[in-house]
């Protein structure tokens, strides 16, 4: 009887010990492919990159010095019934701290996305592995500012810009740009700068805050901020007449399609309807791999003008462009 009890105890011990295993922080390595292609709706020139995952055996990804780019694939883009084969090419790297071989990419100079069209991409690797994605180009936007916008506005402390679009799930990225020239040692140097939406003070230092990307289809710039920005461009320079401001600034709205908006939303961890909650921050819309395929378009609003006396009040010259 004692023997039986002893035997059962041994077996139970064996049972417990046999399930023990060493912890492996790396998990199973499996090669994955990454296709990235962001189509610019304001250009015929489009670029895609294709690469594969790698395993360094350490926790430092920079230990890998072998370029993971893949060059012998066929990448095609569909726009309606037309198909465009991308050409593989290389360009010298500016930063060779990790990879010394030229940067590999694919391009075409024949595709210009138009609004509200289905576009598709396919990367076919030499192994037969196929990565595909579909996106719908964003709708065009129309600015609501009917009359030309005058700066400073009459009886208002804010510059308001708004627009409308048929697309619902669209992220916008807004830039309010001015162009000015500064006389430097007898030469007129051109500058193009973005006007911030606010200033924040950190440790006694004022930092400009620029509009963040989001779904809002309007933006308001406090005149106080615009004035502060215009003052700042000649800060420390007593000779204000060295500065000449173009009288017409510019609003640029970058419109992202739904794929790109979702990607932007997920990578920014925003909690809204577009958020894709993932354990890992690796949103993809590529079937068969990782990466992102999306389109964006930039729309410009140019019906804006400074009042000449407002520019001159800073001591600057006015350029009537």
């Amino acid at each position: 009887m004692n023997k039986i009890v002893l035997l059962i105890s041994l077996i139970l011990c064996l049972f417990i010990i046999s399930c023990e295993e060493n912890f492996n922080p790396f998990g199973d390595y499996k090669e994955r492919y990454v296709l990235t292609c962001l189509l610019d709706g304001n250009s015929n020139y489009q670029v895609a990159t294709l690469s594969k995952s790698y395993f360094t055996g350490t926790f430092n990804p920079f230990d890998n010095t072998t370029d993971p780019s893949i060059q012998d694939a066929e990448i095609r883009i569909w726009l309606a019934d037309s198909v465009y084969l991308l050409i593989d090419s290389t360009i010298e790297r500016g930063d060779t701290s990790q990879y010394i071989t030229p940067f590999k990419f694919y391009y075409t100079d024949k595709v210009k996305p138009v609004s509200n069209k289905v576009m598709e991409i396919e990367a076919l690797l030499s192994s037969g592995k196929r990565l595909t994605a579909v996106t719908v180009t964003p709708s065009d936007i129309t600015f609501n500012n009917g009359n030309p916008t005058v700066i400073p506005p009459v009886d208002e402390n804010y510059l308001n810009f708004s627009w409308r679009s048929q697309s619902v799930y669209t992220f916008y990225d807004i830039r309010f740009m001015i162009t000015y020239f500064k006389n430097e040692n007898g030469r007129s140097i051109k500058y193009k700068k973005e006007i911030p939406i606010a200033y924040n003070t950190h440790g006694g230092i004022e930092e400009p805050i620029f509009p963040s990307s989001g779904r809002s289809s309007s933006v308001s710039y406090p005149m106080e901020t615009v004035t502060k920005f215009l003052q700042s461009i000649s800060e420390g320079d007593e000779n204000k007449s060295n500065y000449s401001i173009e009288i017409k600034p510019l609003i640029e709205v970058l419109v992202m399609d739904e794929s790109l908006s979702r990607y932007y939303s997920s990578t920014n961890q925003a909690l809204n309807d577009l958020t894709v909650r993932l354990d890992e921050n690796d949103y993809t819309n590529i079937d068969g791999g990782l990466g992102i395929f999306g389109t964006y378009m930039t729309k410009k609003y140019t019906s804006i003008s400074f009042v000449a006396s407002y520019i001159q009040s800073f001591g600057y010259n006015v350029i009537y462009n």
Binding site: I4, V5, F15, W78, D81, V83, L124, G128, K129, R130
Partner: protein, 491 residues
Amino acid sequence: MMKLIMKLQSKSNIRVLLVMLIFLIYLGCEKEISTTAPDEEIPQGFLYVESQPLGSTIYLNDKNTGRITPGLVPYLESGNYKLSLKKKYLRDTTISVTLTDFDTSKVFIDYLQNPMMLGKITFNSSPANASVYLNDSLLANKTPFTIAGLTPGKYNVRFKIYNHRDSEIPLIVESNKNSTAYSVLRDTAQWVDYQIANSEIQSNILTCVTVDNNNVKWIGTSNIGIISFNENQFINFNTSNSLILSSYVNCLAVNNDNSVWIGTNNGLSILINGTWTNFTHNNSDLPNDNVNSIIFDVNGNAWIGTNNGFSKFDGSTWQNYNYASSSFEYLWVTDLALDQSGNLWIGSNNFGILKFDGNYFTEFQESAYNFLTNRITSLDVDNLDRLWVGQQLTSQSRGGLSIYNGAAFTNLYLGTTNNKINNIFISQQFKWISTNEGFSMYDENNSNTFFSTNNSYLSNNNVTGIAHDKNNNLWITTLGGGLNKYKMVTK
């Protein structure tokens, strides 16, 4: 548990229990956890498509594959596919194909076996009875006729009739359609025009023309120097490939030694057997670099009219002449002519006509002699020793033509709006008057025939110069319409 063990009395039962426990250990350690999705298997179906003609776009299940024939569509799932081939100008072709794994299905589609895929061309021309070259192959029939069974695509059709300019047109043939190739051929029995669009001539902006002793035509331009034409080849001599002084040529003349004298707005260039000699006011006594007229006397001397006087040049020495009056300080010479007595007639842009007998000048002013204006554009002397004078229109009066018989001037209008005379050319009994509205021909009876784009094949009305060659052809330069050949005797 103990109660259960107590019930097991036999050794065999204990063995069974041990086996069960070991099995439990095995199962208890099994895990069904995966951190990544399993890889999908790569499909292994391949489709190779060929066609006749090549270059058709391959569609699978109505989707453009982006591949053209002959082409391989790789890594497809096994199964049935709708394969369509599309090619411009041809009808679409669709078939069903079945693919299996680890196999390459081959498809060949011959469009040309299907009569519905082929097209027709009807050839027609005006006038009819033209020979037809289809992509440089001469067809057996003459227009009008139709041929069928043609592969759709782009074709080049050339019509050819004797004494007519060839006409060439591109044509597209589509499946099951009849395309028409029709052309009106330009009659060249009497008139031939040479323009950049229809010949090898290098410019359409021509200012003057002359014919040398070898019957080569020399043509002045306002943009690329001079052009020689032997009726086979146009050769351009410009400031880049020759030593000619300027791109703008005012006048041309050929001497007895067949040297070509070129008056430009930047001096005088002489081309003798491929060798250039240049004269300007900087390297010679040429009075002014704007050379407007060149003629030769019976002794071989050249008389050269410029914007500031004229010169006699015997090949080595320059003798300059000028003339001033109370109204004008210098003589702006537009044209020169020699009469049968050896008198030099000088047309000017500022005070009418002068006669120079070698020693003295005689003035001929519009007010005293009752010709049309004092702005003379051209002069020439006919076989009856009469002076023909072309005149510019002015703000006060029309231009026109005047004839001086040694006693009085007779004024003629050419029936045009402006009567701006550009050039007078006299050859045998004919006088050819160039205007900016066409040109006139006066015969020995002073009967006038006017040619313009309205009543002839003249390519442009702004006629700048006329010359007569040894084959009895008239060569006509125009400012904008290139060169025209007028066959005075139709062959």
